[in-house]
């Protein structure tokens, strides 16, 4: 063994069992809350997410559960707390249950997406309005922003959309998970998240400059200059020790030199 790590005498199987136990939900529940699932009361452990609390209560999802990590927008949820006038929105997988939540999940959002050919569309100050004219109906009530579980400035990007500022719409909407809560709440019937998707694609395609390095690499690949090195690699692999040696050499040298490295990588390919 090298100098960096000491040898440890351990029972690996026991360690795995310990991990399994550590990762299981605790058997004993100390704190409870009562939630109302579509009006029905259930007692669930405090500290669970809304999604896990519903499962604890006996619900098995088909809809309204997707990535379970805040990226897909499948678990849009609306709720009120007892005695409050305020209407709240959340992602069930990212929100902790609270006592006396009255919950309902939104399994589907009816919204229409414009269809377009991204290669033929022309990004002008009126493009967004052409495809989503309803954005002009925005009454600046800010309800969409309040509804957004990602805390995006939805109303702002709609306003930028009206003004034709595609870049601003793209940037402000970038973290949108397309759950549709903005669209459900909008009194002006705007379909925010679809408009924002168009803006981002226009920005990515027409406003961001193209990579020259990428172009160059594609030319190289298409010219076939890598075919021989690939063949050579296949041959080197016949000798397990030789390929390992090459791998570690490239790995360690690369980490050392990455920032200054400009030599021809093919030089590392050995003989010939």
């Amino acid at each position: 063994m090298g100098k960096k790590i000491e040898l440890l005498d351990v029972d690996s199987k026991q360690i795995m069992n310990d991990i399994k136990k550590a990762a299981s939900p605790p058997e004993e529940v100390e704190h409870w809350v009562t939630i109302y699932v579509m009006g029905k009361p259930y007692r669930v452990p405090a500290g669970l997410t809304i999604m896990k609390a519903l499962e604890y209560a006996g619900y098995r999802f088909i809809r309204s559960s997707g990535c379970r990590a805040g990226f897909c927008g499948a678990c849009a949820t609306v709720y009120r707390k007892k005695g409050e006038y305020r209407f709240r929105t959340a992602l069930a997988c990212q929100t902790t249950v609270e006592d006396e939540m009255y919950l309902s999940q939104i399994p589907f959002v009816p919204a229409n997406k414009a269809t377009y050919d991204i290669d033929k569309i022309e990004p002008t100050p009126t493009t967004l309005l052409e495809y989503y004219p309803e954005i002009a109906r925005c009454v600046s009530c800010n309800t969409c922003t309040k509804a957004c579980p990602q805390e995006l400035d939805v109303m702002y990007y709609i306003q930028y959309g009206i003004r034709g500022d595609i870049k601003k719409v793209a940037e402000l909407s970038f973290d949108c998970i397309q759950c549709g809560l903005c669209t459900l709440r909008c009194p002006a019937e705007i379909q925010h998240y679809h408009m924002a998707q168009l803006a981002r694609r226009l920005y990515g395609k027409y406003y961001q400059p193209k990579s020259k390095w990428l172009e160059r690499r594609l030319k190289e690949i298409n010219s076939g200059i890598y075919e021989k090195p690939y063949e050579k690699l296949e041959k080197i692999r016949e000798d397990p020790e030789a390929i390992k040696e090459l791998y570690y050499k490239i790995l360690y040298e690369g980490r050392e030199k990455e920032n200054k490295l400009v030599e021809d990588p093919l030089e590392h390919m050995g003989e010939d």
Partner: protein, 565 residues
């Protein structure tokens, strides 16, 4: 009484955080020295053998049925491969075809969507393609990948070096033709994304901002903040919608259909809401069902989406496809270990790539932050359970710190907001500010390294090694690309490269051949006979489609009444 929290952490965890703060300045100053902690080949082996869940005894067994009989796989995987078919073949009428299409794509995540798009580019009309998927279009691990996608496009990098990284990361077990395809196609894929309008992080000249990934020898990670997977997935989904490619949601395939002449001729779908089945006949079939995270191998938490239950492996195996590299499971070193609400969720490798160092409860560093994932994960487990230097959470989870505030110091204030907004947002929802406090992590079940074996045309191979002419696979369900361990940034790449190749190959078949031969489910019956032989409990059926997280109390009182079925 609920536990009192300060900035999201209980007081006793705060004590450990103070120790982390004390060593931070020194660790930042000596950041470059972390390289010295990188392990040699022998040291890697020692650590893997003792601390990686794949190597530790007791987690696997020999398969007793099917093509790969005698090979070792995780117990949880053996359980579903050796299970009774959920579908009774006698209950379906194959003569009554509901969808008669050119191409059936099973799975509506990244690989399936890319396959459908490229089949369409190749001239197959949208209406002759059908995507069938278990959840919604895009509810997939593809949507969740945060860190990035690899492609060797800088002048001092090359597809050849990328190949070597993939190979070494995969313990030299990868299939040559697949690694070649992966690394050679990578720049083409990035170009395609540029044309589609994917908003990658770029500098003002248009070149990509590229970062380190674990186990890579060059910076070649392309990203879109820490929503890379989401950005790519929503763009390709948008494109599929523009092209009006039909998608059937909540209708997973539950069994492949074979033909009398030994081919694949489509699949049986099951509408999970109405419970009716659909017969799909297809000239070519693309399997893009993703991976197995929700099997919770060895009891680990997972980063995976709700539907990651390895249905594709089960169906393909029954139809006679060969599986490979299934004994190796990828555990991502950094899953959230605290708070309880998000245990297992992915903390992107980019957090380490941007400078956060893993440290133990005393604030000591103990590992080079950029080892390949299996080595990094083993070192975390070693520090926790081998040396006892981890922090225990109030619910009993163990974890080590990832010192995220270092990022702000190293890369400038605001770097976390700018690059790791998803992470920041996730922790903030639970009261933790990762720009000021470290976050607690532990390895989490992340990826199915192996799968259904394919060739460079994405054709699935039969038990005897010859390809099925009409059956293709792409994405996490297939195996051979990553050998025994996948590197960061190669999964998004994989589904694009092999989704594309599957789509092109499937289109070629659809253009050049007639309808498949007479449809049959004979293979399901034959497989059932095999299962009969080995004494499997009657309730063990697969594909399982979705995991079951219902509370024990409810399940103990659950009864099925013979009405309303």
């Amino acid at each position: 009484m609920t536990l009192k929290l300060i900035g999201g952490y209980p007081e006793y965890m705060r004590e450990s955080i103070e120790m982390v703060e004390k060593t931070r300045e020194m660790r930042i100053k000596e950041k470059e020295k972390e390289k010295e902690l990188a392990l040699t080949a022998e040291e890697r082996k020692e650590v893997l053998n003792k601390f990686h869940p794949d190597y530790a005894p007791g987690g696997k067994r020999e398969l007793r049925v099917g093509v790969n009989q005698g090979e070792i796989v995780p117990n949880e995987v053996a359980d579903i491969l050796e299970a009774w078919p959920a579908l009774n073949p006698d209950e379906v009428d194959l003569n009554d075809i509901d969808y008669d299409v050119d191409i059936l794509v099973i799975g509506g995540g990244g690989a399936g969507t890319v396959a459908a798009l490229w089949a369409n580019y190749e001239g197959i009309p949208a209406e002759n393609i059908l995507i069938a998927t278990k959840l919604r279009h895009g509810d997939a691990n593809s949507m969740m990948a945060q860190g990035g996608i690899q492609a060797a496009d800088r002048p001092w990098d090359s597809p050849i070096i990328h190949y070597l990284d993939v190979l070494g990361g995969g313990h030299f077990a990868n299939k040559h033709e697949l690694v070649k395809a992966l690394t050679e196609d990578a720049p083409k894929i990035i170009k395609w994304h540029e044309e589609l309008g994917v908003m990658y992080d770029k500098d003002e000249k248009g070149n990509f901002i590229e970062r380190w990934g674990g186990g890579t020898s060059r910076r070649r990670m392309h990203s879109a903040k820490d929503y890379t997977g989401m950005e790519i997935m929503r763009v390709i989904r948008d494109e599929a919608r523009n092209r009006e490619i039909p998608v059937l949601e909540f209708s997973p395939a539950v069994e492949l259909i074979t033909t009398e002449d030994g081919e694949i001729g489509g699949a049986i779908l099951w509408n999970m809401e109405t419970k009716e089945y659909y017969v799909v006949r297809a000239k070519s079939t693309v399997l893009a069902t993703g991976g197995w995270g929700r099997l919770h191998i060895r009891g680990f938490p997972t980063t995976n989406h709700y539907g990651a239950t390895a249905d594709g492996l089960v169906m393909a195996y029954r139809a006679g496809a060969r599986l490979r590299d299934l004994e190796s499971v990828q555990y991502h070193p950094t899953g959230a270990a605290y708070p309880e609400q998000i245990v297992g969720q992915l903390i992107t490798e980019k957090v380490r790539a941007m400078g956060a160092t893993p440290v133990n409860k005393y604030g000591e560093r103990f590992v080079f932050p950029m080892e390949p994932r299996d080595v990094e994960a083993s070192m975390f487990i070693r520090e926790c359970f081998g040396k006892g230097n981890c922090v225990k959470t109030p619910t009993g989870m163990h974890g080590i710190w990832l010192d995220s505030p270092m990022i702000e110091e190293l890369q400038g204030e605001g770097a976390i907001h700018k690059n790791l907004d998803a992470m920041y947002r996730m922790f903030k929802k639970f009261g933790i500010d990762m720009t000021k406090d470290p976050i607690l992590v532990f390895p989490t079940l992340h990826y199915q390294n192996g799968g259904v074996e394919i060739n460079a045309n994405a054709q699935v191979l039969k038990g005897n090694g010859t390809p099925y002419p009409r059956f293709f696979a792409g994405g996490e369900v297939e195996g051979g690309v990553h050998g025994k361990n996948r590197l960061m940034g190669n999964s998004l790449l994989d589904y694009n490269v092999f989704g594309r190749r599957a789509g092109i190959s499937a289109a070629k078949v659809a253009r050049n051949s007639g309808k498949p031969g007479k449809l049959t489910l004979k293979h399901v019956k034959l497989f059932t006979e095999e299962v009969k032989r080995i004494n499997v409990p009657p309730e063990r059926r697969s594909p399982i489609l979705l995991p079951d997280y219902r509370g024990k109390r409810v399940l103990a009182r659950k009864i099925d009444l013979p009405v309303m079925q």
